[in-house]
Each structure stands twice: as structure tokens, then as C-alpha cells.
Subunit: 302 residues, 4 copies
Amino acid sequence: MEIERLRGLFPPIPTPFDEQERLAVHRLRSNLERWRACGFSGFVVLGSTGEFVHLNDGERLRVLSAAREALPGDALLIGGCSLHSLRDTMAYIHAAAGEGVDAVLVNTPCYYPQAREPSQLAAYYRHLADRAPVPILLYNVPQFTGVSIPPHLVAELAEHPNIIGIKESSGNLRVLTEIARLVPSDFVVLTGSASTFYPALLIGAQGGILAAACVAWEACRGIFDAVQSGQLTKARHLQMQLLPLIEAITTRWGIGGLKAAMDLRGLYGGPPRAPLPSVDESARAEIEHLFTHSGLFSPLEL
Amino acid sequence: MEIERLRGLFPPIPTPFDEQERLAVHRLRSNLERWRACGFSGFVVLGSTGEFVHLNDGERLRVLSAAREALPGDALLIGGCSLHSLRDTMAYIHAAAGEGVDAVLVNTPCYYPQAREPSQLAAYYRHLADRAPVPILLYNVPQFTGVSIPPHLVAELAEHPNIIGIKESSGNLRVLTEIARLVPSDFVVLTGSASTFYPALLIGAQGGILAAACVAWEACRGIFDAVQSGQLTKARHLQMQLLPLIEAITTRWGIGGLKAAMDLRGLYGGPPRAPLPSVDESARAEIEHLFTHSGLFSPLEL
Amino acid sequence: MEIERLRGLFPPIPTPFDEQERLAVHRLRSNLERWRACGFSGFVVLGSTGEFVHLNDGERLRVLSAAREALPGDALLIGGCSLHSLRDTMAYIHAAAGEGVDAVLVNTPCYYPQAREPSQLAAYYRHLADRAPVPILLYNVPQFTGVSIPPHLVAELAEHPNIIGIKESSGNLRVLTEIARLVPSDFVVLTGSASTFYPALLIGAQGGILAAACVAWEACRGIFDAVQSGQLTKARHLQMQLLPLIEAITTRWGIGGLKAAMDLRGLYGGPPRAPLPSVDESARAEIEHLFTHSGLFSPLEL
Amino acid sequence: MEIERLRGLFPPIPTPFDEQERLAVHRLRSNLERWRACGFSGFVVLGSTGEFVHLNDGERLRVLSAAREALPGDALLIGGCSLHSLRDTMAYIHAAAGEGVDAVLVNTPCYYPQAREPSQLAAYYRHLADRAPVPILLYNVPQFTGVSIPPHLVAELAEHPNIIGIKESSGNLRVLTEIARLVPSDFVVLTGSASTFYPALLIGAQGGILAAACVAWEACRGIFDAVQSGQLTKARHLQMQLLPLIEAITTRWGIGGLKAAMDLRGLYGGPPRAPLPSVDESARAEIEHLFTHSGLFSPLEL
């Protein structure tokens, strides 16, 4: 893959469910239809925001297949993976490649302390990369997994020709800087932390996979473009305006809040799967208030 | 279920794999054959020690089915469950009941912070308990999941007629005491922490589901019986002798270490699934040394 | 010191302040007068409960001096110490010995990560023990300091003739069991966790330094005596009755709550020093309710 | 104070000790003599790097007094404070003001959980600010204290006319951005995290109090100036070159490492006070190697 294609902005797409929490692939298609016009560099399905862990094997493949079909052939599609055993992960990667994903985003195993050790993580990713029919992106998200891939290990793995980048979602800029310092220039560092998107771009990230981009693509794109063109004041201002929205759709209400915000933007949100909570009417009103008063949208956009 | 049957000692059975890490159900059968004579109150399959998270759906059912077949009809069989979505968990419980388990041991959802909130945990367990064809045991194992069920919530859930007990694996005796204080007498509290088995029995646990029991059933049983008969000095002595073995097969080498110790006791251990590490020869020698010098076994028993 | 004298129950005495938060040594004397009749094995002043960190150098010596004077010459007096530098700690120990303390209880340094390393802790305690004119008790209280002395290090330090015991306040019974397993029989293990007092006594603690003993000496003493005489049901029952009181005077309201409970028992409580909060009237009423309904006191005792 | 004077770069000065760990004020004077020519906006003494917690009351005042004397009257001098009780902190602030400090940097109380609550922190800082004869800077350093001042509380306290800024040392850029978003423009945000200095300046910090500046003032100043003049590539490059040095003098060897690096730069380093470890010869050689190969210094500068 040309590494250039991995730079820029990617939405980690929530998986749509109907009111009975059944997979609603037609909603995925209509959402993608809308997002196609938003200036993304590509699309990530089945990440944390995509509720990978709430789907069964068959549903996962249906999501990949539907996304591939709904997108033009040249649109970059990345499939997430959060499984625990090497053999399940290997099997999934092959299946995902069969559905046409361009790369896979592979989370760290996290259940057993002994499997979280750097030496085990190294062996895990190397084994996968040696055999995977598509390139691998590392995925570091300690707030969900309790596991951090140390920067020096990222650098070692970056030497593997089939490990092409990392999604770094801790939001720890010291870690991101250290990774950017150690990896070769053809290894892509994408941040998964929207609340540090602007500083991350300045210190070494080449883009982001941001849940906020699903509902505030203009502002996320605006930060990215402003950094490219050296308009730092503008980028900083957009980052600060985004902050309360990000807090609402991540820390505070999580995926339920993000899906409510999608409804607000004319996309299909719907409920997350239990035990993830849906937002109630009062939360929905608060989210609407936050979006309306963010200064980021004109009345027509909401 | 008569609650009396849940008191006592249960081994959380490791799932056997062959050298290619394929499920080896015949090894499960032969192990159970051996364990049947060890004085257990019943058997737990597919817990954390059973590598639930490393098996696919089909493999899980094969393990349940093989265990049920290998055991007499009146032997208590408990099936573990560590899934993230309510609907997957519900489906699994029905399937497990269909395979003949007497109860299910249901772990806390743990990936998303919003799903770990007490209110969400409460709704999750209540929804399952209302519909499950077999009784439910709560499972609290924060060292793996990052989630703790607060004691007051355990007490609230204990009022549900289909939630019959808890496996409390944190090893925090303050928490266990508080749970024992708050729950009704027909709710069973089992500890999952072998290193605090003796004090846990004295303060309120009615038994244990202990990985150590898979390889040192005599000592675990010895502690339990000594407490029943008031031989506290003996119980304390056994607990202390067990401590280095427990550390080896849990904290230090984990399931790989436990499986090596099973080989030592004439059972089939084999490898865990990657990325869980197998122990190397030097670790194997250390484990053998620990067992030989524990004072717990005669030469004929090793 | 004869090690026998360190077995049993010790109250870690709160330092009394008047309404302007000035040190009120006459209140310390009157409190000690009352406590002398409560069957304690000795007294600890200037521990965490004694607000060591809220007193200046001069005040600390006045507390030690007043306590020594108020107690019979054969009453065991232990002085706490929570300083960061070796030289300050050394100077304090000499001054405390000059005031007549029988032993010092020395907390782990905790501010700098490099000073928390086991090797530094070892050197720190050894240096002190080599020179201290009175014996040293180690103090492990990770909930306040963020530092844990590993059990194997406790065992190494226990070989020093001038390090005679440990106050282990983590409440982690696995840690306490491991310490009890590794130390020689003339090294005293005292728990600082009232909520695990009963199981701690059974597994290896020879007594406790318990804030709860300042206000519920009958129950704490009752647990100790019941364990000595093998009345386990009674000990367990008392432990459970104590639990809500312990939660109130430690986790929930802290030293402010403990001092309010002292008022209730006819001692002088008064305020803690800011920024520690005093309890308001509604908290005071809740604490009174907890004590009245604990089943531990007759109406005349409150 | 004119808030402008607080912008820029400040070294948090280590307190010099001789080989017997005695306070060596003449070394402080000679170091300040050297640092005066380094383009700092002012000087901080008795911060975490200044081993405040390792000094007694008298030593603290001697350090303040010596620093004041060694500096020109118009040089900004900030005195650190890490005490636990409100009354000790109040007394110290008055004494420090008497020695001529221009402002005090006041750490969060951290020993007791109840004192770490936001409401208690708010009352603590307000009480001090109402009475302090010099302005107050908040100090947030959770890696040492375990306490974080929430951004919304920083914003509330920023409204107090005598609370003029914050040293934010967590290095968490999300927190720093949120603080910068919420505080008024005349409240100064200084970062204490050298490893995120460059991105912090871009998102809202107006300067830094950086241990790294004690030994690599050229690079720290270079980052600051490059950001002011829009030379982002240069700033980013300097940040990356600094990273291994920062790791050596903070995380890895701490103050002992920093003092060794001071020796290297022709300043007086000397030992820290025990239990902080001094670096041995091999560590000293590693530090020298890191500095020599950082690309930041010419041979003449080392």
C-alpha cells in the first residue's frame, strides 16, 4: 500500500443496530453514502467505536462486506480486530481480507497479564504480520484494554514490512512523540485521541482515526487542513471548540452519546448494544445543546 | 438447585490443547476421569483458567458437551462465560444449558467504561437472570477485567431467585467480608483466590473455585476440611505451604505454569493458546522444584 | 524489648486540636486517662491517624512528651514518623527516643519514584536501624503513600536485630500471609486494617494498630480475645458488626469521622486540621446512628 | 504582578548539598550566577526538583534567602511549597514572602484521601489566596502526589485575584487544553512537563518550569523561541532531540541524574539527599554519552 493513502482523517464507524439491537446493514450503507462526501482519507469499521466486541463472527463479516460494497473500489477500508487468541485473530484477518479490507487494525490482547508482556505482544504481532494477506496497523488503547505497547516495541515492530502504522489512542503526547521519534518515515502514526488532535499533528501524527469525525468532520478536517497550511491559531481555536463535544461522545456518554449525535447530524445513530447504555431524552437534549452552541455548525448543518 | 451442593471445592478446569493448539477433548475427558476421585463438589469449565476468551463458539460448546459426558449425571457442572454483549451472553447461556450445565458463571462486561457502571452491571445481570434456564453465579475478577462489582450491588442482585452466588476472585478480604455480611444465607460466596482461601473460609466464604485445586487438590481439600473440623493450625500451615505454588501457577507463569504443573501430577497439561506463553524447560524445572519441596506431596504423588 | 509486649491491641491516637486547630495537649492527657483502662497493649502516637504530617517539629515533640508523662512508666509507647529524607527521619528518631518512646513506627518515603524502589527502601531502613537508639517497626500503608514494601524485603529487613516488626495497613491478606510465612517468629506482624482484623489474626498477625480501637475498643479487644480462646463464631460476628463503623471512620469521613465518634464515646475528639474536613451535623447524626444500631454498645456506653 | 513576567522559561532549581548532604548555599549562589546569563524569565526554588520535602524549615528559608540575594532585585523568584496542613502552608508563605519571593507555587495536599477531594482543594487554595501577601501559583503533579486538580476547579480558582497561574506537570495535553480553554487570559498556564513542551506551547501554555532547562537551557529556550517565531520544524526537531535527555534526568535517574548532568554542564550538582539515589559511575557515563550524542551541544559546551 502506498503509505500516503493512510495520511489524513478516518472515521471509526459505529455499527448501526435497530431498536431490537439487530444489525442494520442498510443503515450502514446509507451512513457511508453520506460520509463519502466528507473528505475522509478512508474508513475504519469494527474498531472500538464499531462495537467489535459486541458482534458475533457472522455479523462482523457482514459489516465488512456491506462497507466494502457501499464504498468505491478505490476507497480505503480498514477493518478492526479485538480478539484474544492468536489463532482467532489470524482466522479473522484472513476472512476480513477476503471481504476486501485494505488493512487490519489489530488491538492488543488484554485479558491475561502474561499475554500483555512486551515479549508476548511482539511475538503476537510478528506472527500475524508474517502471514497476513493485508498490512497490519497496531492499535494502542490502554483506556479500554489496560495494555500499552511501549514506544521502543512499536519501533521494533515498525521494521516489519507488513506492519505499516499504529493507531495511538492513549492521548499521551509524550508517548506519541517518542513513537514518532523512533519509527521510520514510512511508518504511519495516527492518533485516536480527538482531544489532542491538533498538538498530535504538530509533533508527529500524520492523521487521526477519530470518533469525533463521525459527527464533526468539518471541524476535524478543519484542524487537519489548518495545520497543513500553517494556520495555527485557527487550528487551536477549532480544537478548543471541539473539546466539549468530544467529552460528551466519549468519556461522558460514550457510544450511546455518539450515536445520538449522529441522529442530530442526519445520519442513522440508533442504540448501542447492551450493556452499553443508550442516552435518555435529557442527555439527548444536552448533546443537542452542546452541538448547537459549539460555534462549529450553522443552523442548517444541525 | 440445592444450595448445599455449591459449597466446597471446585477446580476451574484448564482447556487442553495439543501441540498445534487444537482443542483436545479426549484430554479433557481423561483429566476429568482423574479429578473425579479427588473429592471435589463439582467442576467449572470455561472460566478464566479455561481460556474462555481463547475459544470460538463451537469449541466452547464442545468443551461443555465433553465435560458433561465425562461426568456422572449427578456431578455438578458449571460453565463460565466472558462475553461483552448482553445478547451474546444470553445466547451462550441458553446453549450452555442445552449442553447440560447446572449453572453458569457470568463475568462482568469490561471493555467500555460506560458498560462497567454499577447501574449497567445491575441491569445486565437482572436481564440475564430473568431469562436464563439455569441459575447464575456472579464473577468478580478485577485483576483481569478492571471491573469490581460493589458489595452493595452483590447484595441487591442476591435477592434475585435465579442469582445464586458469586465467585469473588479479587482476594480482597474486606470486600469478601462485606459481601458475606450483606447477602442472605442461601446465597453462596465462593472465593477464587487460593492465596486467601483459609481466611476467606473463616470470614464467610463457603468454598472456593481455585486454580490451585487442579494440581494441589489434597492441600486445598485439606484446608477446607481442617476449617470444618476446627483444626486451625493445620489449615494455616497448609495455606502457607501452598503459597509459593499458587504464586507460580498464577502471578508468575499463569496458565502455562498451571499446565506444566498438571503434567507433573500425571494429568495432561499441554500448551495454552498464544499469546499466553508456554513455560520453557527452566521454568518447568523451577515448578517441579517448588512442588517437590513444598512439603505437600509424597514422592509417589509427583 | 521483649517481643511479647508488642502483641495485642494498640490504638493509633488522634492528636487533639481545639476549635482554632491549636494543639491541645491537655485533651491528649485526658483521653489517655480514659484509654488506660481499656486493656490496650500500648499506645501509638503520631501515626497517620495522629496527623503526623499536619504537625510541625515542636508540636511533634510536645505530643510525645505529653503522652509519655500521661502514661505509667511501664506502658508501651510507640511514636510514628512520616518524613521523606533519611537525615530528618534519623534526627526525629533520636528526638523521639529522648522523649521516652519505646519504639518508632517508620513510614516509607513516598514522594519521589526513585526513592520508592525496594533497594532504596532497604538502604533507608537499614541505615536507620543501625543507628537508632530504639527499635524500629516498618510501616506499610500504600493507600496513603502509593508505596508497598514487598514481602521478601520485609523478610530481609526482619533479620536486622533493631527492626522488630511491621504495621501492615494495606489490608491485603495475601501480602500479610506471605509476610507471616517469611519472617522469623520473633518479628511482630501487626495489622493496621480493622476491616480484616479477624482473618489477619488467624493467618499470622499477632495484633493490630487499629483506628477503630480508639472508639470501639470493646469490640476490637473482643475479636482478639475470641480468637485466643477459639471462639471463632463470636469473633466473626464482632468483625461483621464493626464493619460499618470502620467504613465510617476511615474511608467515608476519615479522621474527622473518627474524632466525631470519640466525642460520642465521652473522649475529646475536636476537629482535624484543614484541609482534612470536619464532619457536619448530618454526618455526626449518621455516625451516632451507626454506633447506636451497631449492636456493639449498650445505651450506657454511648 | 504583571502577568507578562510569568511567561517564558523557568528552571526549577535543585538544592545543592555537599558530600555529607549538608545544604551548600554557596553552591546555590554560584549556580545562579551561571544561570543568570541563560535567558530565563525567572527562577523557581524549592519545587519538587528542589527537594522541598527533604529540607527542614530553617533550610528552606536559607535557600530562599540565598537565592534572593544572589539574584538582581528585578529577577522573578518563585518559592515552592509542599506541605500538608493549611496552617503550616500559610505560615510558610508568610515566611517566604518575608524572604522576598515574588510568588509561591503551592502543591496539593496529598496524604489523606479526604483532603484530596476537589471541595477541600478549593477551600484550601481560597483560604491561602485570601491571606497570602504574595500571589499563588497552583501546582498539579499527580505523578508525585496521586492528586489531580480537575480543570473546572482550576478555572474556578483562576477567578481569585491572588491566584495567578498554574504549573501543570502531568504532561496530559487533554487536561492542559481544557485548562487553557476555561481560564481567563490573564491566568498563566505553565507546563512542568519538558517532554511535551513544544505541543503544550502550541495549545495554550505560556511557558514552562522545566527541570530539563537546568541543564539544557539552550534547547528549551530554542523551542520557546522557535514557537514564537513560527519555526515549527525547528521546534519539533529540538523537542525530539531533548526527549532522551529528559527521560534520563526524570523517569530513569531522577534528581540524581539531573545533578550529574549539572556537573557535566559546569554547574555544581552534587548528591541528592537519601533515600534519593545518587548515580553511580556507569550511569554518569551513560548520561554523558546521551548529552554528547544528543546533537544539542557543541564539544565546548560540555
